[in-house]
Amino acid sequence: MMKKNWEMPKTVVQRFEPNEYVAACYSVVCNVDNANAVEKEWILYRPLWQGGPISNYDAGQTHSSSACGAPGNYYVIDDNDDGKFDSMIEISRDLGRLNCEIFTDASYSTGANWGSIASGQTIYWTTQSGDRTWHHQGLVGVADSSHPNRS
């Protein structure tokens, strides 16, 4: 049998960042009618020389059923596989990955803990891109069990 030629031993170590554990699967969609109603009442105080106060809605922060109101737009993340939410992100077609910040109610003044929410609950969250903020709300439902790792 012909011998192979010896080559010097070479070991390559590639380090990687582990992905977030995404296991708990819930469906979260924005109730766009309610969310748009909030934006219409959410006043941005601009100086008069910039046109004066304007609603967040008129400034362009709107909600639509084809974006944040579409199923599958949100990913719920359970970092440590304990069955509780740790965070949520929106994958926006136009804006990319947006982190969600959760609040206790529609005043969006008091931060809440992701771990305290459960299926069947209405939650309130915001997303931000630059100096723009969207105020979302929606019901948490259990998603199709055949659709793991994505909500």
Partner: protein
Amino acid sequence: MEKEHQSSDMLLSSEVQENFRGSGTEKSTRRFKANPNFLLREIAGEAVLIPVGEAGIFENSVISLNESCSFLWQLFQTPRTAEEAIAEAKKEYDDPDGVLEQGVYQFIKDYLQYDLLREEKE
């Protein structure tokens, strides 16, 4: 992040060889064995070590081995001295450049350093 550790272009110092060979003509009786917390698997045609227990500094890492590393890893599944490993490697490989011994010693040195290889206690 990628960290590459390459033995091939390192010149083996006489001191490294002394560590494994013993002084003069004396044969070293030090025996080495592959760390059982790592398993060799072929993934997409590439030999890689998969941590199955305590991965230490190799947590969240993929350790790829070239052909000769893979061969030596399999040899050291049973405890062997450096000389025994060299003898086995010479059966399997031609060594036109005369670097086989150097490569085996360097492999042992490096793998001991990173706890991929362990010295068997008498």
